[in-house]
Symmetry: D2
Subunit: 234 residues, 4 copies
């Protein structure tokens, strides 16, 4: 889970507990690591690992700087790389993101880039040495679900690194679908933190992810144009 | 869960255990209630209630006869009413089903009719005294999911009795969606019993139903055409 | 085309001209056949045949009465049968509609019933002697397009009478899709009469219907999960 | 229209005539400009302009070379830029394509790049000086239609150059939808040349494009969750 959007730290705390999140991403540019009573305190207390992200960066240069500050402040080489093209769409910039990914990998970072759902760009990120790819389902905060399941399937089919669905999910069935398509995890923020009852939605998402994963492993029935009786008639 | 389609009683047994089903529907016309080692034995042992159904009936008359035999054999006034129009589509016949429902209600049965997703027919069934309505998501065994979520929403909005989504579900996200649309339960058969691993799919469906129900109660975020940042930028 | 919803007779006139409609349906309950300068005058002048409809009827009895008045006033045995369940959804009532259809056929009418998209109900209407079936794509005036193309395909596959898609279309691609699914015609009202430019939308619908029909006859390429080069590479 | 995939030159000729194509794209790597009775002869005879493309190129370097050969052979600075990532998906490589576009623009070409449906990449292509952008609807030859209409809308909303939908269309309603979303044109190949009746499908596509364009200009009715009567009831 991401940590943005919650109405209060207390609400966030309960949502994180319900979600059984093991790893949380935190925007470095919106964080004061020294402040007491901060999000970081909360995560430390719960034993949730922190993945710093570069939200709010618009160029590879800004992202590099932010990642290096995060490495020093949080003592981790892991970074969720976000390089956004503009304020309105919040869509990732493929060119700046790939440029930043290459430089961060060269600098020893473990890079998890937020990208569109382009299967070829995902492959490029993997070739650049990224540790995972994080394609979007739909624009950040839109709640539209997975706009193009076909592309997510293509990404999963050829990926040699974990695929984490990031952005756009709105409800439990979206999260289940992501896992059924073969994603290794989902990253959620607004869908939980802005729900009317964040803790309950966190629980729903937790169960949906488990369900979607199990359904993929269980081998679903094929889709048929016509009916098939559940038992042969006599 | 329905009981049709499982490769063996043993597989069915494990799937029922995983699914935590409380009520199971059994086709009277495919059942010998006296046979030892039967499905009924299994259900009695697990303490799962049995809802006899009229699968295999093509007219109101056949359905009435089957329901009465079930009432005697199983000592329950509950019946899942299925009157199918033909072997190929297995779609319910709206006219025969309504006719049978009216007669069964008059005869003291608790009637749960399997119907198409027509919101007006659902209302008619309720007016006829049915205890619930069971609209399909897609043809039986097709695994196509919910073809027309809009109709299911319309049925839920105006229903004064429970709505149980019946038929057509293929995987966990379909079940979660049914609950998010406001259904009170789902009825599954082929999606579980014909999956490659029925017990695992049963577990997936159980979690998906819980997740979808929680997501509905939690109040999902609205769908937006454009992005919205998870936290306000500084 | 239906005639309801146009801001003026003049706008309707131009839309009808552009659409090259050959048959128009007119609500008997909203019509004064004697009034000069009426819709009927306009249709007579353009040589467009009039199909009276029973819009505004809520029971089989009302529909029978309206159809008989129409037969006398317009000297035609043809009737578009509409029996609506309620004001809010404007969805057709399957039970009342079938009842009315049977009685009208017995009384010598040529009956074209407006129905939901239930394939079995469509078959029942045909068995009752209806001259065509008119399933909806979506609720009247909703502009949602064809909510369940699969059902429309099932209706077309087994129909022995013309299938006319009625209600719910919003734009040209919806009309093209209806024809590609195998419908014999579409019936439009709000999508044209309430568009910002009704005459232009009428022209769009005319071309879309021609296009969709030709595309069906031309035999489209299959849908493939993966790419296929348009020419073999060397 | 593209020229690939037709079973014979004669079939292609009739399809081009029916489609009223004004501009056709031809793969330079599959062309011998000197050969008599070639595709080029056919296009010259019909007065259809030729847009050479770089199909079959996998790197920016190959695309540059092919574009320059085309400029010499066909005496046009126009080029449809295709740089494909691999044989299996035939998806465009965003990095190589942008690199090639920048170099071709610097070299005086009028560049129309084939790209994925990423709105930010489309903007980058425009910023690089491309004369149009050609996003895909779905993988080449798949016939899946427009997988992500939301992305195509985002591209159209912010584009200052023409948007031409390229690849993936399967039938007339797909082409109409592309125009309704605001595209300026569509590029078709397999959907026409591999249809059972290419000339008839070409005519269908021609009408669908006209219809979709008119529908966009006509201002469609809004989509409503509930019904709205086409005429006010009395």
């Amino acid at each position: 889970m991401g940590t943005g959007g919650a109405p209060s730290l207390d609400v966030l705390d309960r949502a994180l507990a319900e979600s059984r999140t093991e790893l949380t991403t935190v925007a470095m540019r919106r964080l004061d690591p020294e402040a007491p009573g901060s999000v970081l305190d909360l995560l430390r207390r719960r034993g949730i690992k922190v993945l710093p992200n570069t939200a709010g960066c618009y160029t590879a240069g800004e992202a590099l700087l932010t990642a290096r500050l995060a490495r020093e402040a949080l003592e981790t080489p892991w970074v969720k790389l976000e390089v956004i093209a503009d304020e309105r769409t919040l869509l990732p910039d493929p060119v700046e993101t790939l440029d930043a990914a290459e430089k961060l990998v060269a600098d020893g970072f473990v890079v998890l880039p937020y990208i569109g759902d382009d299967p070829i760009l995902a492959r490029r990120m993997e070739q650049a040495g990224c540790a995972a790819v994080m394609p979007l389902g739909a624009p950040i905060g839109s709640g539209l679900g997975i706009r193009n399941p076909h592309n997510i399937e293509l990404i999963v089919e050829s990926a040699g690194v974990p695929v984490i669905l990031d952005a756009g999910l709105g409800t439990a069935s979206d999260a289940a679908l992501a896992m059924e398509l073969g994603c290794d995890a989902v990253l959620l923020a607004s869908a939980v933190t802005r729900a009317q009852n964040p803790a309950l939605m966190a629980a729903a998402m937790r169960d949906a992810v488990v369900a979607g994963r199990a359904a993929r492993l269980a081998g679903r029935i094929p889709r048929l144009r016509h009916a098939q009786a559940s038992s042969p008639s006599r």
